[in-house]
């Protein structure tokens, strides 16, 4: 259930492309030597392997860089202040940077058997299941917009994009869908 007060820039949904509800999100930056402590405090194993994501239903952690994780919370947490405060409290004195980016980006789900082709329309990465397995996540480009792409199932991708680019990316994936 999404927070009804959070506006979505997306215009619609289709067989392959579905706007996702609002999530709470944060960017966590921690130096390598403090990662283990942060994981312990958060009760969430921050993935160390490049371009991988971990996490269950409560919170996902996506490796974006060697000291950078995108934390994605459950949908429907309202303004997310409590969520942020909770994480901040858990992290305690761990030397790190935690910044709320819940509204910085929005998410689309691209799914179905045409998902790979729709993405290959604007993403230059090898999206085959061997090269981009389930659980892999990375920043990359979709045409001229930066995105975060996360494969959640063989035929299901989670795509994050900065809010101001949302309509650009949405228009392109819809064209891709119509031409794939």
């Amino acid at each position: 259930m999404s927070d009804p007060t959070v506006a979505s820039p997306f215009l619609g949904l289709s067989q392959t492309i579905r706007p996702l509800p609002h999530f709470s999100r944060a960017i966590l930056r921690v130096g390598l030597k403090d990662v283990a402590r942060a994981s312990e405090r958060l009760d969430l194993a921050l993935p160390i392997a490049a371009c991988t994501a971990t996490g269950g239903s409560a919170m996902g952690a996506l490796w974006l860089g060697p000291d950078e994780w995108l934390l994605i919370g459950e949908a429907g947490l309202g303004n997310g202040l409590d969520w942020m405060a909770g994480i901040t409290e858990k992290l305690g004195d761990v030397v790190c940077s935690l910044v709320d980016v819940s509204h910085r980006q929005v998410a689309l789900e691209i799914s179905g058997e045409r998902a790979e082709i729709v993405l290959a329309y604007g993403c230059a990465l090898d999206l085959s299941i061997t090269a981009f397995p389930v659980g892999m996540c990375t920043r990359t480009m979709y045409h001229k917009a930066e995105i975060v792409l996360w494969r959640k199932a063989p035929d299901r991708f989670h795509l994050e994009v900065w809010r101001s680019f949302a309509r650009y990316v949405e228009a392109l994936v819809r064209q891709a869908e119509s031409e794939a």
Binding site: D3, T5, V6, A7, S8, P9, H22, I27, R29, G31, D67, E68, N79, L81, V95, C96, S97, L98, V99, D100, V101, S102, H103, R104, Q105, I117, A120, Y121, G122, C123, A124, L125, D126, S128, A131, H143, K144, A145, W162, R163, S164, F165, R167, Y168, A171, L172, Q175, S178, E179
Partner: protein, 992 residues
């Protein structure tokens, strides 16, 4: 209905599906599966165009991408006209309308043919470099327009193209380019290893030479049946992608290959919105180039008449399309392939008047004679006759001159391996003396060539070579090849290397005769000899001076013969002369295909704020700032910008205005060393900035020039909220990361972009506090509790808010940062609350005027990359006690401390109504010829009731009170130099 030159059977055309088409308005009937060329030939039409320079009648020469003559325009409708298409590549569809090019008034009677008959001897290669120089200036007024009109081929489309183009990135373990025998064999082996294979071929039907293979078997099966079976088997594999109608046009670094796939040009009625072409960008671990070979034409006098064509093309027309290219043919032979062609054509009913072989002895001649063919050896070719179609060829053999009547002359000059893509990949080409061709040598990328493109011409050889290439490619891509048997071919006549390069022996005077080397560009053997005579000895010079090889076929037919002629004239071997560079694309690629989806609104990302739609609904006029759309002003009732801005300014000064500042860059700087980082990065001192306080920050490039500015707030001892300009956001963050990651890795601090996290709603004006107060909770907005340059987190309308009390207008002002998903909701709430206070929305133009009245600079307007902080009047911002910050050292360079630097000043025109033009130059009345500065900003100020301007003026601060000139085309405007603050210099209005 059967056309008169169609055989009774054979070929892969569908004889049950006639196709109507027109050429130059005349109706014809072809068959489904025809190309435009094969259909025209089936109707006995050879004359299809006029040449570039001499306007000589020209016919179809080849059967594929190498065609130099048969360029046509194809018109689907007014907006879908495509010039310069090769008739040999245009697939026939019902209703196709093609027209010939470069002729006036018609193909049959072309006035410009005077270039051939009368002027020809006076316009040799490069003639234009030697004349048209008198009188001075006449070139582009008098001569050039005429030359231009005569040049060019087809006519450019005149209306915007309504078709759409699509694109896809793809990854392959092995990309096989060319689906002839070698390519298919390679794809079979590669696919069997489990590798991901893409097989691409430019023709609609895959198979290459196998499509025309008659009397040939592969693995005991008819070759064409084997082909069908093999393709079906490949297509059934999930790891194989088959791309017909797809040309590999460019080989880019790191095995990045561009493919162009035609999707609809062959369809009579493409579905609406169906993309016309698709650009594939393929990254392949390994590439197999199986591009085949190109038949070489022969250079002899008047070798360009319609009806003179490549021998193997004639055979292809027969075997693939069931088309006889004529009734009576003479074959000029320099290669044994001529005999195969002769046998197959004769079997189809074409009379072979003679095989004229320039070689001697010719072992193949005897068996041909035994079969009843007339063969003349050791022959010279003297010329041809026929106005719009060849009617005879004159030869000399055994010392006897003879004119042979015919309607077709076929040239069998041998085959040139197609090494274009290999060369594009920066592989090294090696001259092979035995087969007289350049062949692929050392690779520059992870690729290998197979089959005819590396001189393995015979079918069995090509199949074996392709299979081996497929296996080794699989191995090198990390797969284990299966032990798939190698197909073997029987019955195919070996067509090895050799053949002839350069001009064919002739008794004719080649300084008089026109023996064409480059058909399309009308370059003859004598042109090339002339170039050599004039000292153009490098093959690149010959190419550029004569234009040989620079036509739309990029020298596929001409390059090798041009080399031969230069070799002959200069007495140097071909390897000594070298080779011209092969350049992408292999065949021309549609602009639209390369541009793909980036068109219209999607040409470039259009970034919009959460408040954009509200602004649009309220009539905003937008401007582009970088990728962003920003509301520039909000006109009412047909107001122009001037009126709207005046109204908006006044309302902000007197009441309150609301402004969308969301595009400002925002960076959260967090960590124990955050203050130290800021201290090193910005010119300002940061260590003592209190929590909850803001400061205006200035940032330099390391060369000392102002890069960016913005207000920075301290949220906590270890946390700063940094703002940047709209256009500078990405640049500033990138530069911060650069220093942090590569120079100051000792600092514990991290940067996170929050530009898009926050919608920024500026509420500015005397009533700003009154508007906001009812909406906010958790904060006291009073001047005492929340003075100018404060920052705090609180709530507004029940959502989190980061509030800054800042002013870029000179009025009491707040910037309300709210999570952008709530941006519009909060904006509308403030709007509702503000309306009773006389609030209106203003745009960037009003913001520019308001800040100029206060003398606040705009990066990129008052600064231009050559301005120091002191120039811009920002010297006060520099933390004087700091030993270092980015750019500090550069400020001490001689030029940066020169006394006559341009400094920011205000200008007041003597005539208060005159608004200066931004960018206007400024002179000292004592020296009107030298500019001493320029106007950076100029507006009409409603608040002041007069014009104002900011300017950068040499030594400006020492000129206070002086009168300067602003020269305009209609005379100089006088203005007085003043301090760059026009309104409320004490700042009383801000601190309320």
């Amino acid at each position: 209905m059967t056309s008169s030159f169609r055989t009774a059977s054979g070929g892969r055309v569908d004889r049950d599906r006639p196709v109507n088409f027109t050429f130059d308005g005349k109706a014809y009937v072809g068959l489904h599966g025809d190309t435009l060329a094969s259909a025209l030939l089936a109707n006995g039409v050879h004359l299809v165009g006029r040449s570039f320079k001499y306007h000589r009648p020209r016919g179809i020469v080849g059967s594929g991408a190498d065609e130099p003559n048969a360029l046509v325009g194809v018109r689907r409708d007014a907006a879908r006209y495509t010039p310069n298409l090769l008739a040999t590549q245009v697939e026939l569809y019902d209703g196709l309308a093609a027209v010939s090019q470069n002729r006036y008034p018609s193909l049959e009677y072309d006035c410009m043919a005077v270039n051939d008959t009368l002027l020809g001897r006076f316009i040799p290669a490069g003639f234009y470099y030697k004349t048209f120089m008198w009188p001075k200036g006449a070139w582009d007024k008098l001569y050039e327009p005429r030359i231009r009109k005569a040049a060019g081929l087809g006519v450019a489309p005149t209306a915007p193209d309504p078709d759409v183009y699509t694109q896809r990135y793809a990854h392959a373990d092995i990309l096989v380019i060319g689906a002839g025998p070698a390519g298919i064999a390679a794809a079979q082996q590669a696919a069997a290893s489990g590798a991901r294979v893409i097989l691409a071929d430019d023709r609609p039907a895959m198979g290459g030479s196998l499509l025309a293979a008659a009397d040939t078997t592969v693995d005991g099966e008819d070759a064409r049946a084997w082909l069908r079976g093999s393709l079906a088997a490949l297509a059934a594999l999930s790891n194989v992608t088959m791309l017909p109608r797809t040309i590999a046009f460019g080989y880019y670094p790191h095995n990045w290959i561009g493919l162009a796939e035609k999707l609809t040009d062959h369809l009579p009625y493409p579905a609406s919105g169906q993309p016309r072409e698709r650009l594939w960008q393929v990254r392949a671990r390994q590439v197999v180039i199986a591009a085949g070979s190109i038949e070489r034409p022969l250079v002899f006098p008047d070798n360009d008449r319609p009806g003179i064509m490549l021998a193997d093309a004639a055979r292809t027309y027969l075997q693939e399309y069931g088309v006889m290219v004529g009734r009576k043919a003479v074959i000029v032979a320099a290669h044994d392939s001529a005999y195969r062609v002769a046998h197959e054509l004769r079997a189809a009913g074409i009379e072979i008047a003679a095989i004229v072989d320039i070689r001697s002895p010719v072992p193949a001649a005897q068996s041909a004679r035994d079969a009843g063919l007339r063969v003349l050896c050791d022959a010279k070719v003297e010329g041809t006759r026929g106005r719009l179609r060849v009617s005879a060829i004159t030869i000399t053999a055994d010392g006897k001159r003879e004119t042979l009547a015919c309607d077709t002359v076929l040239m069998a000059g041998g085959f040139t391996p197609s090494v274009h893509l290999f060369s594009q990949s920066r592989g090294k080409l090696v001259w092979d003396e035995a087969i007289q061709a350049y062949l692929p040598g050392e690779s520059g990328e992870a690729e290998r060539s197979a089959g005819a493109c590396r001189g393995r011409f015979a079918l069995s050889e090509a199949l074996a070579d392709g299979a081996e290439a497929g296996r080794s490619a699989a191995r090198d891509a990390g797969f284990s090849p299966m032990d798939l048997p190698i197909p073997s071919a029987q019955g195919a006549r070996a067509c090895g290397g050799g053949g002839h390069i350069g001009a064919v022996p002739t008794g004719a005077d080649l300084s008089r005769a026109k023996a064409f080397v480059d058909w399309q560009n009308d370059v003859t053997a004598r042109d090339i000899a002339l170039a050599a005579r004039e000292g153009f000895l490098s093959i690149e010079h010959v190419k550029r001076y004569t234009t040989t090889g620079m036509a739309t076929d990029q020298g596929k037919l001409s390059n090798i013969n041009a080399l031969g002629i230069v070799s002959n004239v200069t007495g140097r071997s071909i390897p000594e002369i070298g080779l011209t560079t092969f350049r992408a694309p292999y065949t021309p690629v549609t602009f639209g295909t390369l541009a793909g989806k980036a068109r219209g609104d999607l040409f470039d990302p259009m970034r919009v704020t959460a408040i954009h739609d509200w602004a649009a609904e309220h009539g905003a006029v937008f401007e582009d700032v970088g990728n962003w759309k920003r509301a520039r002003y909000f006109p009412r009732h047909g107001e122009d910008m001037h009126a709207a801005v005046g109204r908006e300014c006044l309302q902000v000064r007197n009441q309150v205005g609301i402004f969308d500042a969301s595009t400002l860059g925002k960076i959260e700087v967090v960590g124990p060393d955050a203050a130290e980082f800021m201290n090193r990065f910005y010119v300002n001192a940061w260590l003592k900035l209190g929590v909850g306080r803001c400061r205006y920050g200035v940032l330099l490039r390391e060369d000392g020039f102002v890069l960016d500015d913005g207000v920075v707030g301290r949220l906590a001892p270890d946390r700063f909220h940094v703002t940047t300009t709209t256009g500078g956001a990405a640049r500033v963050l990138a530069m911060m990361e650069d220093y942090l990651q590569t120079e100051w890795s000792d600092l514990k601090v991290w940067l996170t972009s929050t530009t898009e996290q926050w919608s920024v709603i500026a509420v500015q004006g005397p009533k700003a506090r009154a508007v906001l107060a009812p909406l906010v909770t958790g904060i006291d907005l009073s001047a005492e509790a929340f003075p100018h340059m404060s920052i705090a987190d609180a709530q507004i309308c029940g959502v989190p808010m980061r509030l800054m009390r800042v002013s870029f207008t000179g009025e009491l002002g707040f910037e309300v940062n709210v999570p952008s998903g709530h941006g519009r909701m909060v904006w509308e709430a403030i709007w509702e609350c503000g309306r009773s206070n006389g609030m209106l929305a203003y745009g960037t133009e009003t913001m520019h005027v308001l800040r100029a009245e206060k003398g606040f600079i705009i990066i990129g307007q008052e600064t231009d990359g050559t301005v120091t902080p002191d120039d811009a009047g920002l010297g006060w911002a520099i933390g004087k006690a700091k030993p270092d910050f980015v750019g500090k050292r550069s400020l001490a360079r001689p030029a940066m401390i020169a006394p006559d630097r341009k400094q920011l000043v205000g200008l007041l025109t003597h005539d208060a109504a005159t608004v200066l033009e931004e960018g206007a130059q400024i002179t000292d009345p004592l020296d009107p010829r030298a500019a001493i500065g320029h106007v950076t900003s100029a507006y009409h100020s409603v608040a002041l009731g007069r014009s104002i301007a900011l300017a950068l003026v040499r030594g400006g601060r020492a000129r206070m009170g002086h009168t300067l000139h602003v020269p305009m085309p209609d005379g100089a405007i006088t203005a007085e130099v003043v301090q760059p603050v026009f309104l409320d210099p004490e700042g009383a209005r801000i601190h309320v």
